[in-house]
Symmetry: C2
Subunit: 200 residues, 2 copies
Protein backbone atom coordinates (compact mmCIF):
# COMPACT_ATOMS: atom_id res chain seq x y z
CA UNK A 1 0.00 0.00 0.00
CA UNK A 2 1.32 3.46 -0.86
CA UNK A 3 2.13 5.98 1.85
CA UNK A 4 -0.77 8.22 0.89
CA UNK A 5 -3.29 5.36 0.79
CA UNK A 6 -2.04 4.07 4.12
CA UNK A 7 -2.31 7.49 5.77
CA UNK A 8 -5.80 8.00 4.52
CA UNK A 9 -6.79 4.57 5.81
CA UNK A 10 -5.30 5.31 9.23
CA UNK A 11 -7.29 8.53 9.50
CA UNK A 12 -10.38 7.28 7.68
CA UNK A 13 -13.02 8.10 10.26
CA UNK A 14 -12.09 11.78 10.49
CA UNK A 15 -11.53 11.88 6.73
CA UNK A 16 -14.98 10.45 5.94
CA UNK A 17 -16.63 12.75 8.47
CA UNK A 18 -15.16 15.72 6.60
CA UNK A 19 -15.98 14.41 3.11
CA UNK A 20 -19.52 13.45 4.16
CA UNK A 21 -20.19 16.65 6.07
CA UNK A 22 -23.61 18.31 6.10
CA UNK A 23 -21.99 21.40 4.54
CA UNK A 24 -20.95 19.38 1.50
CA UNK A 25 -24.43 17.86 1.12
CA UNK A 26 -26.04 21.29 1.28
CA UNK A 27 -23.52 22.80 -1.11
CA UNK A 28 -24.18 20.02 -3.62
CA UNK A 29 -27.94 20.46 -3.30
CA UNK A 30 -27.63 24.24 -3.64
CA UNK A 31 -29.41 24.65 -0.29
CA UNK A 32 -26.58 25.90 1.88
CA UNK A 33 -27.84 29.03 3.68
CA UNK A 34 -26.15 32.26 2.63
CA UNK A 35 -24.92 33.10 6.16
CA UNK A 36 -23.35 29.63 6.46
CA UNK A 37 -21.63 29.94 3.10
CA UNK A 38 -20.54 33.49 3.94
CA UNK A 39 -19.06 32.33 7.22
CA UNK A 40 -17.30 29.42 5.52
CA UNK A 41 -15.91 31.43 2.59
CA UNK A 42 -14.82 34.35 4.75
CA UNK A 43 -12.78 31.87 6.79
CA UNK A 44 -11.54 30.02 3.74
CA UNK A 45 -10.42 33.31 2.16
CA UNK A 46 -8.11 33.74 5.14
CA UNK A 47 -6.27 30.64 3.97
CA UNK A 48 -5.64 31.72 0.47
CA UNK A 49 -2.59 33.79 1.33
CA UNK A 50 -1.08 31.08 3.56
CA UNK A 51 -1.91 28.43 0.98
CA UNK A 52 -0.20 30.37 -1.80
CA UNK A 53 2.81 30.94 0.46
CA UNK A 54 2.97 27.21 1.17
CA UNK A 55 2.81 26.40 -2.54
CA UNK A 56 5.66 28.89 -2.98
CA UNK A 57 7.69 27.05 -0.35
CA UNK A 58 7.05 23.77 -2.17
CA UNK A 59 8.22 25.36 -5.44
CA UNK A 60 11.35 26.64 -3.68
CA UNK A 61 12.00 23.35 -1.90
CA UNK A 62 11.22 20.73 -4.56
CA UNK A 63 14.09 18.30 -5.03
CA UNK A 64 13.54 17.93 -8.81
CA UNK A 65 12.82 20.31 -11.70
CA UNK A 66 9.80 18.36 -13.01
CA UNK A 67 7.71 18.45 -9.84
CA UNK A 68 8.82 22.05 -9.20
CA UNK A 69 7.30 23.06 -12.53
CA UNK A 70 4.04 21.20 -11.82
CA UNK A 71 3.62 22.97 -8.47
CA UNK A 72 4.53 26.32 -10.08
CA UNK A 73 1.80 25.93 -12.72
CA UNK A 74 -0.78 25.05 -10.08
CA UNK A 75 0.31 28.07 -8.07
CA UNK A 76 -0.45 30.26 -11.08
CA UNK A 77 -3.95 28.77 -11.32
CA UNK A 78 -4.67 29.18 -7.62
CA UNK A 79 -3.51 32.79 -7.67
CA UNK A 80 -5.72 33.39 -10.71
CA UNK A 81 -9.03 31.52 -10.72
CA UNK A 82 -9.49 30.83 -7.05
CA UNK A 83 -8.67 34.36 -6.01
CA UNK A 84 -11.21 35.56 -8.56
CA UNK A 85 -13.98 33.31 -7.18
CA UNK A 86 -13.41 34.60 -3.65
CA UNK A 87 -13.62 38.21 -4.78
CA UNK A 88 -16.95 37.69 -6.55
CA UNK A 89 -18.48 35.34 -3.99
CA UNK A 90 -17.64 37.47 -0.96
CA UNK A 91 -18.94 40.58 -2.73
CA UNK A 92 -22.25 38.89 -3.55
CA UNK A 93 -22.63 37.61 0.02
CA UNK A 94 -21.95 41.08 1.36
CA UNK A 95 -18.84 40.10 3.29
CA UNK A 96 -16.80 43.26 3.83
CA UNK A 97 -13.20 43.14 4.97
CA UNK A 98 -11.37 40.13 6.36
CA UNK A 99 -13.01 38.02 9.10
CA UNK A 100 -11.45 37.21 12.44
CA UNK A 101 -10.01 33.69 12.18
CA UNK A 102 -12.10 31.09 14.06
CA UNK A 103 -10.15 28.44 16.00
CA UNK A 104 -9.94 25.83 13.18
CA UNK A 105 -8.79 28.56 10.80
CA UNK A 106 -6.14 29.72 13.24
CA UNK A 107 -5.04 26.10 13.65
CA UNK A 108 -4.77 25.58 9.92
CA UNK A 109 -2.92 28.85 9.42
CA UNK A 110 -0.41 27.77 12.08
CA UNK A 111 -0.03 24.35 10.44
CA UNK A 112 0.57 25.89 7.00
CA UNK A 113 2.94 28.44 8.43
CA UNK A 114 4.92 25.76 10.27
CA UNK A 115 5.13 23.71 7.08
CA UNK A 116 6.23 26.75 5.07
CA UNK A 117 8.89 27.80 7.55
CA UNK A 118 10.19 24.23 7.88
CA UNK A 119 11.31 24.60 4.24
CA UNK A 120 10.80 20.83 4.15
CA UNK A 121 9.35 19.66 0.85
CA UNK A 122 7.81 16.48 2.32
CA UNK A 123 6.00 18.39 5.05
CA UNK A 124 4.77 21.05 2.63
CA UNK A 125 3.50 18.39 0.24
CA UNK A 126 1.77 16.46 3.06
CA UNK A 127 -0.25 19.50 4.12
CA UNK A 128 -1.05 20.39 0.51
CA UNK A 129 -2.11 16.80 -0.17
CA UNK A 130 -4.66 16.72 2.65
CA UNK A 131 -6.04 20.15 1.78
CA UNK A 132 -6.53 19.19 -1.86
CA UNK A 133 -7.43 15.52 -1.60
CA UNK A 134 -10.21 16.00 0.95
CA UNK A 135 -11.67 18.62 -1.37
CA UNK A 136 -11.41 16.40 -4.44
CA UNK A 137 -13.10 13.61 -2.50
CA UNK A 138 -16.11 15.62 -1.43
CA UNK A 139 -16.46 17.38 -4.79
CA UNK A 140 -16.33 14.08 -6.67
CA UNK A 141 -19.03 12.44 -4.56
CA UNK A 142 -21.54 15.17 -5.52
CA UNK A 143 -23.69 14.82 -8.63
CA UNK A 144 -24.38 17.56 -11.15
CA UNK A 145 -23.56 20.96 -9.75
CA UNK A 146 -26.49 23.21 -8.75
CA UNK A 147 -27.47 26.07 -11.04
CA UNK A 148 -26.19 28.97 -8.95
CA UNK A 149 -22.59 29.83 -9.82
CA UNK A 150 -21.97 30.66 -6.16
CA UNK A 151 -22.27 26.94 -5.34
CA UNK A 152 -21.36 25.42 -8.69
CA UNK A 153 -18.01 27.14 -9.14
CA UNK A 154 -16.79 26.17 -5.69
CA UNK A 155 -17.59 22.55 -6.51
CA UNK A 156 -16.10 22.61 -10.01
CA UNK A 157 -12.90 24.24 -8.76
CA UNK A 158 -12.31 21.03 -6.82
CA UNK A 159 -13.05 18.30 -9.35
CA UNK A 160 -12.60 17.58 -13.03
CA UNK A 161 -9.59 16.04 -14.79
CA UNK A 162 -7.12 18.85 -14.12
CA UNK A 163 -7.77 19.00 -10.40
CA UNK A 164 -7.80 15.20 -10.14
CA UNK A 165 -4.44 15.11 -11.92
CA UNK A 166 -3.07 17.67 -9.46
CA UNK A 167 -4.15 15.53 -6.51
CA UNK A 168 -2.71 12.41 -8.17
CA UNK A 169 0.56 14.31 -8.57
CA UNK A 170 0.56 15.31 -4.87
CA UNK A 171 -0.10 11.68 -3.90
CA UNK A 172 2.75 10.54 -6.12
CA UNK A 173 5.12 13.07 -4.59
CA UNK A 174 4.19 12.14 -1.03
CA UNK A 175 4.59 8.47 -1.95
CA UNK A 176 8.00 9.28 -3.40
CA UNK A 177 9.47 11.63 -0.78
CA UNK A 178 7.59 10.46 2.31
CA UNK A 179 4.97 12.08 4.50
CA UNK A 180 4.85 13.90 7.79
CA UNK A 181 2.12 11.84 9.52
CA UNK A 182 1.69 14.33 12.31
CA UNK A 183 0.98 17.09 9.84
CA UNK A 184 -1.36 14.73 7.93
CA UNK A 185 -3.39 13.93 11.05
CA UNK A 186 -3.61 17.56 12.16
CA UNK A 187 -4.70 18.64 8.69
CA UNK A 188 -7.52 16.07 8.43
CA UNK A 189 -8.88 17.04 11.84
CA UNK A 190 -8.74 20.70 10.96
CA UNK A 191 -10.63 20.10 7.70
CA UNK A 192 -13.46 18.51 9.68
CA UNK A 193 -13.44 21.24 12.34
CA UNK A 194 -13.45 23.83 9.60
CA UNK A 195 -16.73 22.55 8.11
CA UNK A 196 -18.25 22.35 11.61
CA UNK A 197 -17.30 25.97 12.29
CA UNK A 198 -19.37 27.18 9.33
CA UNK A 199 -22.46 26.44 11.43
CA UNK A 200 -21.27 28.55 14.35
Amino acid sequence: MTTSADLRRRHASTWEAAVGHRFVDELGAGTVADPVLARYLAQDALFLDAFVALLGAAVAGADRPGPRMVVARQLGLVAGDEDDYFTRALARLGVVGPAEPLPPTAGFLALMDDARRSADYATAMTVLLVAEWVYLDWAQRLGNAPADWLHAEWIELHRGPAFAAWVAFLRGEVDRVGADEDAFARAVELELAFFDAAYG
Copy 2:
Protein backbone atom coordinates in the same frame (compact mmCIF):
# COMPACT_ATOMS: atom_id res chain seq x y z
CA MET B 1 15.87 58.96 -6.41
CA THR B 2 14.38 55.54 -5.77
CA THR B 3 16.53 52.63 -4.62
CA SER B 4 16.15 50.79 -7.93
CA ALA B 5 16.97 53.86 -10.03
CA ASP B 6 19.97 54.61 -7.85
CA LEU B 7 21.31 51.06 -8.11
CA ARG B 8 20.97 51.03 -11.84
CA ARG B 9 22.80 54.38 -12.04
CA ARG B 10 25.61 53.08 -9.84
CA HIS B 11 26.09 50.04 -12.09
CA ALA B 12 25.26 51.78 -15.35
CA SER B 13 28.34 50.89 -17.36
CA THR B 14 27.98 47.14 -16.85
CA TRP B 15 24.22 47.45 -17.26
CA GLU B 16 24.50 49.28 -20.58
CA ALA B 17 27.13 46.84 -21.84
CA ALA B 18 24.67 43.99 -21.25
CA VAL B 19 21.66 45.80 -22.74
CA GLY B 20 23.70 46.95 -25.75
CA HIS B 21 25.39 43.61 -26.30
CA ARG B 22 26.15 42.28 -29.76
CA PHE B 23 23.94 39.26 -29.00
CA VAL B 24 20.96 41.55 -28.51
CA ASP B 25 21.64 43.39 -31.76
CA GLU B 26 21.88 40.14 -33.69
CA LEU B 27 18.79 38.71 -32.04
CA GLY B 28 16.81 41.82 -32.98
CA ALA B 29 18.05 41.69 -36.55
CA GLY B 30 17.30 37.98 -36.80
CA THR B 31 20.92 37.34 -37.73
CA VAL B 32 22.16 35.56 -34.62
CA ALA B 33 23.91 32.37 -35.73
CA ASP B 34 22.15 29.15 -34.76
CA PRO B 35 25.15 27.77 -32.82
CA VAL B 36 25.35 31.01 -30.81
CA LEU B 37 21.65 30.96 -30.04
CA ALA B 38 21.82 27.25 -29.21
CA ARG B 39 24.70 27.86 -26.82
CA TYR B 40 22.88 30.78 -25.21
CA LEU B 41 19.51 29.04 -24.86
CA ALA B 42 21.02 25.78 -23.63
CA GLN B 43 22.67 27.81 -20.85
CA ASP B 44 19.60 29.89 -20.20
CA ALA B 45 17.48 26.75 -19.90
CA LEU B 46 19.70 25.74 -17.00
CA PHE B 47 18.40 28.78 -15.16
CA LEU B 48 14.77 28.09 -15.56
CA ASP B 49 14.61 25.66 -12.67
CA ALA B 50 16.61 27.92 -10.32
CA PHE B 51 14.60 30.93 -11.46
CA VAL B 52 11.30 29.19 -10.75
CA ALA B 53 12.64 28.07 -7.36
CA LEU B 54 13.62 31.66 -6.56
CA LEU B 55 10.18 32.93 -7.56
CA GLY B 56 8.77 30.26 -5.23
CA ALA B 57 10.94 31.56 -2.40
CA ALA B 58 9.66 35.09 -3.07
CA VAL B 59 6.07 33.81 -2.95
CA ALA B 60 6.82 32.04 0.33
CA GLY B 61 8.66 35.00 1.82
CA ALA B 62 6.57 37.99 0.71
CA ASP B 63 5.60 40.20 3.63
CA ARG B 64 2.15 41.07 2.22
CA PRO B 65 -0.66 39.11 0.50
CA GLY B 66 -0.95 41.52 -2.47
CA PRO B 67 2.63 41.22 -3.70
CA ARG B 68 2.61 37.49 -2.92
CA MET B 69 -0.29 37.03 -5.33
CA VAL B 70 1.43 39.09 -8.05
CA VAL B 71 4.59 36.97 -7.86
CA ALA B 72 2.48 33.78 -7.79
CA ARG B 73 0.69 34.75 -11.02
CA GLN B 74 4.00 35.53 -12.72
CA LEU B 75 5.35 32.19 -11.55
CA GLY B 76 2.44 30.48 -13.29
CA LEU B 77 3.27 32.30 -16.52
CA VAL B 78 6.98 31.51 -16.36
CA ALA B 79 6.28 27.84 -15.69
CA GLY B 80 3.88 27.80 -18.63
CA ASP B 81 4.91 29.97 -21.59
CA GLU B 82 8.63 30.25 -21.03
CA ASP B 83 9.09 26.54 -20.40
CA ASP B 84 7.17 25.89 -23.61
CA TYR B 85 9.45 28.21 -25.66
CA PHE B 86 12.57 26.44 -24.40
CA THR B 87 11.18 23.04 -25.31
CA ARG B 88 10.40 24.08 -28.89
CA ALA B 89 13.50 26.22 -29.43
CA LEU B 90 15.98 23.66 -28.13
CA ALA B 91 14.32 20.93 -30.20
CA ARG B 92 14.58 23.02 -33.36
CA LEU B 93 18.22 23.88 -32.68
CA GLY B 94 18.99 20.21 -32.10
CA VAL B 95 20.12 20.66 -28.51
CA VAL B 96 19.81 17.29 -26.81
CA GLY B 97 19.98 16.92 -23.05
CA PRO B 98 21.11 19.56 -20.56
CA ALA B 99 24.36 21.44 -21.21
CA GLU B 100 27.24 21.71 -18.79
CA PRO B 101 26.96 25.09 -17.05
CA LEU B 102 29.56 27.59 -18.27
CA PRO B 103 31.17 29.81 -15.59
CA PRO B 104 28.67 32.71 -15.81
CA THR B 105 25.82 30.22 -15.61
CA ALA B 106 27.35 28.52 -12.60
CA GLY B 107 27.80 31.95 -11.00
CA PHE B 108 24.20 32.90 -11.62
CA LEU B 109 22.92 29.56 -10.37
CA ALA B 110 24.91 30.07 -7.16
CA LEU B 111 23.55 33.61 -6.78
CA MET B 112 19.97 32.46 -7.25
CA ASP B 113 20.47 29.55 -4.93
CA ASP B 114 21.98 31.79 -2.24
CA ALA B 115 19.05 34.18 -2.59
CA ARG B 116 16.54 31.33 -2.39
CA ARG B 117 18.12 29.74 0.65
CA SER B 118 18.44 33.11 2.42
CA ALA B 119 14.63 33.09 2.52
CA ASP B 120 15.05 36.87 2.48
CA TYR B 121 12.37 38.56 0.41
CA ALA B 122 14.48 41.66 -0.33
CA THR B 123 17.40 39.60 -1.62
CA ALA B 124 15.15 37.40 -3.73
CA MET B 125 13.44 40.43 -5.22
CA THR B 126 16.77 42.15 -5.94
CA VAL B 127 18.02 39.21 -8.00
CA LEU B 128 14.69 38.84 -9.77
CA LEU B 129 14.67 42.58 -10.52
CA VAL B 130 18.05 42.53 -12.27
CA ALA B 131 17.24 39.39 -14.23
CA GLU B 132 13.96 40.83 -15.49
CA TRP B 133 14.80 44.52 -15.83
CA VAL B 134 17.94 43.97 -17.94
CA TYR B 135 15.84 41.79 -20.23
CA LEU B 136 13.03 44.34 -20.48
CA ASP B 137 15.60 47.01 -21.27
CA TRP B 138 17.23 45.16 -24.15
CA ALA B 139 13.93 43.88 -25.55
CA GLN B 140 12.41 47.37 -25.48
CA ARG B 141 15.30 48.95 -27.34
CA LEU B 142 14.77 46.64 -30.32
CA GLY B 143 12.40 47.53 -33.14
CA ASN B 144 9.88 45.22 -34.76
CA ALA B 145 10.68 41.60 -34.03
CA PRO B 146 12.19 39.53 -36.87
CA ALA B 147 9.97 37.08 -38.73
CA ASP B 148 11.36 33.83 -37.33
CA TRP B 149 9.50 32.75 -34.18
CA LEU B 150 12.77 31.44 -32.76
CA HIS B 151 14.01 35.02 -32.40
CA ALA B 152 10.69 36.86 -32.19
CA GLU B 153 9.22 34.90 -29.29
CA TRP B 154 12.30 35.34 -27.14
CA ILE B 155 12.06 39.09 -27.67
CA GLU B 156 8.30 39.34 -27.13
CA LEU B 157 8.51 37.28 -23.94
CA HIS B 158 10.54 40.15 -22.49
CA ARG B 159 8.56 43.22 -23.49
CA GLY B 160 4.98 44.35 -23.90
CA PRO B 161 2.66 45.83 -21.28
CA ALA B 162 2.38 42.73 -19.06
CA PHE B 163 6.12 42.18 -18.78
CA ALA B 164 6.73 45.91 -18.29
CA ALA B 165 4.14 45.91 -15.48
CA TRP B 166 5.90 42.95 -13.87
CA VAL B 167 9.23 44.80 -13.91
CA ALA B 168 7.55 47.95 -12.56
CA PHE B 169 6.14 45.82 -9.76
CA LEU B 170 9.59 44.39 -8.97
CA ARG B 171 11.04 47.91 -8.90
CA GLY B 172 8.27 49.04 -6.58
CA GLU B 173 8.88 46.12 -4.23
CA VAL B 174 12.63 46.70 -4.13
CA ASP B 175 12.00 50.39 -3.53
CA ARG B 176 9.63 49.47 -0.70
CA VAL B 177 11.54 46.69 1.08
CA GLY B 178 15.10 47.66 0.18
CA ALA B 179 17.74 46.01 -1.98
CA ASP B 180 20.77 43.82 -1.50
CA GLU B 181 23.33 45.89 -3.43
CA ASP B 182 25.89 43.14 -3.44
CA ALA B 183 23.44 40.77 -5.09
CA PHE B 184 22.43 43.53 -7.51
CA ALA B 185 26.04 44.15 -8.59
CA ARG B 186 26.80 40.43 -8.97
CA ALA B 187 23.66 39.89 -11.02
CA VAL B 188 24.40 42.72 -13.47
CA GLU B 189 27.94 41.48 -14.04
CA LEU B 190 26.70 37.95 -14.58
CA GLU B 191 24.13 39.13 -17.15
CA LEU B 192 26.92 40.71 -19.16
CA ALA B 193 29.22 37.69 -18.81
CA PHE B 194 26.33 35.47 -19.83
CA PHE B 195 25.89 37.20 -23.18
CA ASP B 196 29.67 37.10 -23.75
CA ALA B 197 29.71 33.37 -23.11
CA ALA B 198 27.31 32.72 -25.97
CA TYR B 199 30.20 33.48 -28.34
CA GLY B 200 32.48 30.93 -26.69
